[in-house]
């Protein structure tokens, strides 16, 4: 019922963009209070800022990530559906 590593021997592997979604979960960006900027996400995950930005834009459209504008700063965190999506990889 639960827990798997991120690749499957008999099916498609977890796409790169979803790996970023997982990493967002694992570094704790799951509530507005713990939301992170693109720079912070990039530093945590060692994924290029431009790649992070493009993936985040897609996740926001899909409803997996919330975008918060705090003054001049854009911050991001997973939505409840985003959390479920990530945990489905490990369940």
């Amino acid at each position: 019922m639960s827990g798997s590593s991120s690749g499957f021997s008999y099916g498609p592997v977890v796409p790169e963009d979803l790996r970023l979604l997982c990493m967002l979960h694992n570094i704790g960006a799951i509530t507005p209070e713990r939301s992170l900027t693109i720079k912070e996400i990039s530093e945590w995950t060692t994924v290029e800022s431009s790649t992070v930005q493009s993936y985040l834009q897609k996740f926001v459209e899909q409803g997996y990530v919330n975008h918060i504008k705090a003054g001049e700063v854009d911050r991001y965190h997973l939505t409840l559906n985003g959390i479920r999506k990530v945990l489905s990889i490990y369940s």
């Binding site: 639960s2 498609p12 570094i27 479920r84």
Partner: protein, 388 residues
């Protein structure tokens, strides 16, 4: 009266797969029998850090320190879970620790040694069965699973299939492993559902045939085989519509496959839906398909049986034990879209037979898979172990 500490990473409202439902159903039924059930679990936005749900005390822990790598994150989370359990009861005076799956096993093992209380480990699935061992992470997960079965005083699995897998793969003595099946909350299904209105919400007209599939959208669930069967099914059932319920990382790929069928307009992906809505959908469907390629138990098949919808399931793992072919459901071959198409056609083409199947299935669920019965069996295991 037993005082039990349950460790699980999923518990409502954090519902991803069957684990949350299992821990909730079992905990509630044990609490109703007068046992003290304390559940320590992963936090979820909006859920309080502690609360009581239907007599079950729930304590949630956050991973206060994160790490992008999942196994590192899991070990950090286990540290905070362990700390949370220490907060529940400073004396940690539990009779038993009940750990579900490897994700909370490190905390469970530490607590076992610290409290000197016995640990019971329920294995719902194994890394070996889910995905095979193919990467450093999967070997590490497999190692933690083995370690937990070794440390446990007793291992519980939900089917004979899983007992064979666990004993074979981890080299456990046969008598260390007990089989206690899953169950479902039958009262959830004793509700009136306005079938037409539920169908309308999902774009299905009263005269159309609703083919339902429920599960996490991950490779093990075999949803791709149902999607690939759709052109064949609709050749014979032009009024068929398909609803796929669930969330998961494979969703994008499955949507791509759905587009390739040329029948995309018949197929709806709902994403995650709440339990009550799911019951309504199950009671409004003409057939429920469970096309899994790995399924240690298959609780969704039981739910379908309780809802009174004919079930078509892969003849594998736990599903092959839960369902009796052509008596309580229909078997199809796993990994075969032709076989899935055959099974769906078998149900849709013969409404009389479908009704007979659902009547038998309902009776089977009521007699065998109630949480009350499962809780009593589990408590018996706890008591035996605690007396040692």
């Amino acid at each position: 009266m037993m005082k039990v500490c349950v460790l699980t990473w999923e518990f409502p409202p954090l519902i991803v797969g069957g684990l949350a439902r299992h821990c909730y159903g079992l905990g509630k039924a044990m609490a109703e029998k007068g046992h003290e059930i304390n559940v320590a679990t992963l936090s979820f936005p909006g859920a309080p850090s502690s609360e009581e749900i239907d007599g079950v005390k729930v304590f949630r822990a956050s991973a206060e320190i994160g790490h992008p790598h999942f196994i590192t994150w899991t070990l950090l989370f286990n540290h905070f879970l362990e700390k949370r359990v220490a907060d529940i009861d400073a004396s940690a005076d539990f009779d038993v620790l009940h750990v579900h799956d490897w994700l909370t096993a490190p905390a469970g093992i530490s607590l076992k040694h610290f409290t000197k209380k016995p640990m019971i480990f329920t294995v719902h699935s194994t890394e070996y069965g889910r995905s095979g061992l193919h990467s450093p992470d999967s070997y590490a997960i497999d190692g933690i699973e083995w370690w937990a079965t070794y440390e446990a005083s007793k291992v519980i699995v939900t089917t004979e299939f899983m007992k064979r897998e666990v004993c074979g793969h981890f080299h456990l003595p046969w008598d260390k492993v007990d089989v206690i099946p899953n169950a479902i909350d039958l009262s959830k299904f004793n509700v009136y559902v306005d079938r037409d209105s539920v169908r309308r919400r999902y774009g299905v007209n009263p005269h159309e045939r609703l083919v339902l599939c429920v599960g996490r959208l991950v490779p093990q669930k075999g949803v791709d085989y149902l999607i690939q069967a759709i052109p064949r099914i609709t050749q014979r059932h032009r009024e068929a519509k398909f609803i796929i319920v669930g969330e998961g990382w494979l969703k994008g790929h499955l949507e791509y496959l759905a587009n390739q069928t040329g029948q995309r307009w018949r197929i709806t992906f709902t994403g995650f839906i709440p339990d009550l809505e799911l019951v309504g959908l199950m009671k409004s469907a003409d057939v429920l398909v469970v096309p899994s390629i790995y399924e240690p138990f298959g609780i969704v098949a039981l739910e379908g049986m309780a809802a009174g919808v004919p079930v078509v399931v892969s003849q594998i793992g736990g599903l092959a034990e839960v369902i009796e072919h052509d008596r309580t459901g229909i078997y199809v071959y796993a990994r075969s879209s032709d076989s899935v198409a055959w099974g769906v056609d078998r149900v849709l083409s013969d409404p009389g037979h479908a009704t007979w199947l659902t009547r038998n299935a309902k009776e089977k669920v009521q007699n065998t898979y109630s949480w009350e019965a499962i809780a009593m069996k589990t408590i018996e295991v706890f008591e035996k172990i605690a007396r040692r």
